[in-house]
């Protein structure tokens, strides 16, 4: 069975916490252990930072999918219809890349609809009996 939760947020730094709360809640419900939940909280934060970069406007669209024992999270910055404020998608910094690589099983990043898109997945280590 698969569960999907979608979150749509205006680009605002104080709202990033909602992405972390959603990831942690889904992971807890899926019986991820405490360390894995903390890993996911940080990973989704870094995922969003890697996409949003220095954007000052737009909409951050997140999709959290729980499929069996794996959580996949997509984060996309939608800037369609936004005024041209000189925004250029920024490359994530080295610290952010190192964190994501260490915390999740898979991740990738592409241009999406022009604002940038990134994806990660993490599998629960605990085996169901």
């Amino acid at each position: 069975m698969s569960d999907t939760v979608a979150l749509s947020l205006p680009v605002r730094s104080d709202l990033l916490v909602l992405a972390r709360i959603t990831a942690a809640t889904m992971a807890a419900r899926a019986d991820f252990d405490i360390e894995e939940i903390e890993d996911l909280r940080l990973a989704v934060d870094e995922l969003c930072l890697s996409v949003v970069g220095g954007a000052r406007s737009g909409t951050v669209r997140l999709e959290f999918t729980l499929d069996d024992a794996t959580i996949a999270i997509t984060c996309e910055l939608d800037r369609r219809g936004e005024p041209d404020d000189g925004y250029v998608p920024a490359e994530p910094d080295d610290l952010s890349i190192r964190l994501i690589e260490a915390l999740v099983d898979e991740h990738h990043r592409d241009a999406g609809t022009g604002g940038g898109r990134a994806w990660l997945s993490k599998r629960r280590s605990r085996v169901e009996h």
């Binding site: 730094s13 916490v17 360390e35 870094e46 964190l99």
Partner: protein, 114 residues
């Protein structure tokens, strides 16, 4: 989940101790940067940043700490960190910053390391 973010400061034996509580992310890291900038500009020799009350930090927080560390070191000082929570220490281990910062498990130990 406690979303309170707070910074308190005290001076012990002439050393500023900046204590942070809550989550340090892209929304709150600028406040920490502003606090540390005051000590950088004042030319403080050693600054202790107490992260014992921190429940979360990300690469934005690391960037603030690394930037301040570099500026303080350039002026002959040092920025020391106090971390006890394994999940916070893990962030510094993954990024290899445990090799950059002097990290202590109590404020007292950081202050004694003079």
């Amino acid at each position: 989940m406690d979303l309170t973010f707070e910074i308190t400061e005290q001076v012990t034996g002439g050393v500023p101790v900046v204590s942070v509580a809550g989550e340090i992310d892209v929304a709150t890291a600028p406040t920490l940067r502003d606090h540390l900038a005051v000590h950088e500009e004042a030319g403080a020799g050693v600054v202790v940043v107490d992260l014992l009350g921190v429940s979360f930090l990300d690469s934005t927080a690391l960037g603030v700490l690394v930037g301040s560390f570099k500026r303080i070191r350039e002026s002959g000082g040092d920025l020391k960190l106090v971390i006890a929570e394994p999940r916070i220490l893990k962030v510094f281990e993954i990024t290899d910053l445990v090799r950059v910062f002097s990290i202590f498990s109590t404020v007292g130990e950081a202050l004694q390391d003079e």
